[in-house]
Amino acid sequence: MIASILASGLAVGAVYALIGITYNTMFATSRVMSFTAGQLGMLGGVLGSMFILKLGLPLVVGLVLTLVVCALIGVLTEIVAVRPVLKSLDQHLYVLTTLAVALLIQQFTAIQWGTEPQPFPRLLEAGSGLLDEKYWLPVVTCAVTIIGLEYLYRRTLVGHAFIAIAEDNFAARALGLPERNLRIASYALAGVIGGLAGFSGGQLLLAFFANGPLLNFYGFIPVALGGLGNNRGAVIGGVALGLFQQAANFYAGGIFASVAVFSLFIIVLLAAPQGLFGATASRRV
């Protein structure tokens, strides 16, 4: 019992954490929380299934194609839904534009792919029972992503530029950093991370068009827990959420689990609005 809670909790938790990181990556360069984060996760599953199962492409080709499409969707989001509303960030128009793009993606998928959940291929044919690949693939992916991001942000010039933009947009532009290109790059990167989340968690979540809103919600909770823009907080929050949800599922049943997760979300927001590993509030006047 405990073992299966751990296995499935860690697995879904890793997927939630990855979606949380997707939110954060877009937020860092644009101060925009985008509803496309969950849809990217959904697409990771649907595209993976389409390329590998439907079209019979090899795993690596399917993975690369999936990530390329997701990166393109990320870039498209930046151009269509983010750039036009950046000037009036305080009006929160981005909530509407990114929601619109997210829904366009979802409905297009529903019509072209179908509204029934479809199977996702086994990728490595590795492990069985609680050591099945479907449980550890998301965890490994999450770990690799976080290590890769740490390396990017700490060791590379581009990563330093990302951090500069995230810390102080105006100062970064004054230094001559190509702010727009970096923002586009970060949206492409977010597309890749979101796609990875859906791809690695595909065997758990299946290739299902309606996964988007679900991932939007469960992927945002780690961000709210960890504080906006805090990737380590998102990982801790995501894993905690996954374990909590699965434990509640096993011990008290599905209804209670959903109610408990929602209540937890509201309580955390009210008790620690900046998240548990929070950042500071900004000056308004």
């Binding site: 929160h92 509201i266 927001l269």
Partner: protein
Amino acid sequence: MLRALPFLAILGVGLATPLSDNEYWALIVTRIAIYWVLISGLNLIVGYAGQLAIGYVALFALGAYTASVLAAGNATPEVPAFAALGIAGLAGAVFGVVVGLPALRLRTFYFAISTLGFATIVTQIALAWQPVTGGGIGVPGPALPAPFDTPWGLLYFCLGFAALCTWITANIANSRFGRALVAVRDADVAAEATGIDKARLLILVFILAGALAAIAGGLFASLQTYITPDAFTFELSLLFFISVLIGGRGSILGPLLGTIVLTLLPEVAAPLAAWSTFLYAALLLVIVLAVPGGIAALIDFRNRKPLPAGRVIASRPEAIQQLIAHTATPDTLSLRGITLAFGGVKAIDGLDLDVKPGQIHGLIGPNGSGKTTTLNVISGYYRAGAGTMTLGGRTLAPGRSTDRASHGIARTFQTPRLIGEASVLENVMIGATIEGRASFLEAMLRLPRHRRDEAVFRERALLALHAVGLDGVAEVRADRLQHSELRFMEIARALMLRPAFLLLDEPAAGLSHDEIDRLASLIRAVSDAGTAVLLVEHHADLIFAICDHVTVLNLGRILAAGSPAEIRSHKEVVSAYLGA
């Protein structure tokens, strides 16, 4: 009333539906009426308060299931249909507040997500809680008693109820509550200074909108006669939400037209039905990027007429006495040892300040010397690290921006904080919000006390506009005014409170020479009426012309204080700030 005509025309068309003798149309029109019951409430949240509630289908589903389960007696003894609808409304009110809690403190994305989250869990619960909800098989909807048990009977009932909802939400929208909602949306900082308590206000609206959404759900269950979780898709939520946005913010008629169009669209264009949500989403994107004002902006002919060029602000200081006419004697505002640091920087460093009634107190100093910061500490936007503030004998609670209006403290801002989509008159009326005596319920039903409030506000606002010299543009949308007019509009708003203290933050910035003269005589008149004025300004001429007392700040400390003549000859002030 001319404004009611379009609504009556729409209601007339709805009531005439039986002439078609086609029950299919009865179904469609009833559905529009039911959707509008929900959307009329949602409109207050999305269109007026600007809170992005994207998952309101959850409250619709909650109401549908509560009413159906109670009427069917799945979990309790059978409840009569109307009582079941009422209980559903109560449940909707409670959950409307629960879902809205994040909106009270956090940025709007959190609220959007929390409504989305609620929408996902309500459907999951409806599926999983089989003994009560029937799971995927569903549950019969409540059957209304005669004469509402026929399609036409139900149609009339829903149309009647929808008309009632239009009336009550329009009453709220046109009351001080509605104006306060828009103020919170467009100028939250200014709203706090006028004493508007955002949390309290939003909770009242969440209760109303939640109850209406749930009752709409119950009626929807009656109309469908049988409900399953499939009926409450996110697409439906989207229809509700987009109807408001297509209709336009801050309008009742716009969203009503939006509801009608979006509900009819898939019926009229059947081949599009599969793509309807895709089209809604595309429409949403186009509207936000291209027509942010929605239908309401398209039919707002009054604000298309060009304003007369070369307008002059002809202020009438003699009207100030009549406007302010103090009843209570103002007290002295005293700051003692106020200290405030941002990180390691001390913005204010042990400031003592006394502002006496009937006095104009000038606060000057170089940029970054802590002038505006001092105003913001007094206004309660910043919480001082040390020191006390008293008003007469009473202590001003640090960091409580919403209780300053009740102490008689009004202010203007360095950049005018206007409510762009409201008229100039409404912008000014906001200033007296805390004097409203009528409750939310009284405003909703237009009871006498509410009408009295409105008459008082309106009369005083017109007088204030007359005094500052903006009476010619009272009905114009505020974002069409020039910068200088906005400065005078803010002063009119502050005077609505009949303040004991008036804090002015660089009121002369951007004004012409003539306008500064008028401003000077206005401030003088305000002070003569007994109000204490604290004036932050860079125009040294203005300061020395009208101030009784001047304090010079430098690096958060007092460099000099005294009469204008003393300051003008003060060596350090001249060398540090005024220049030789």
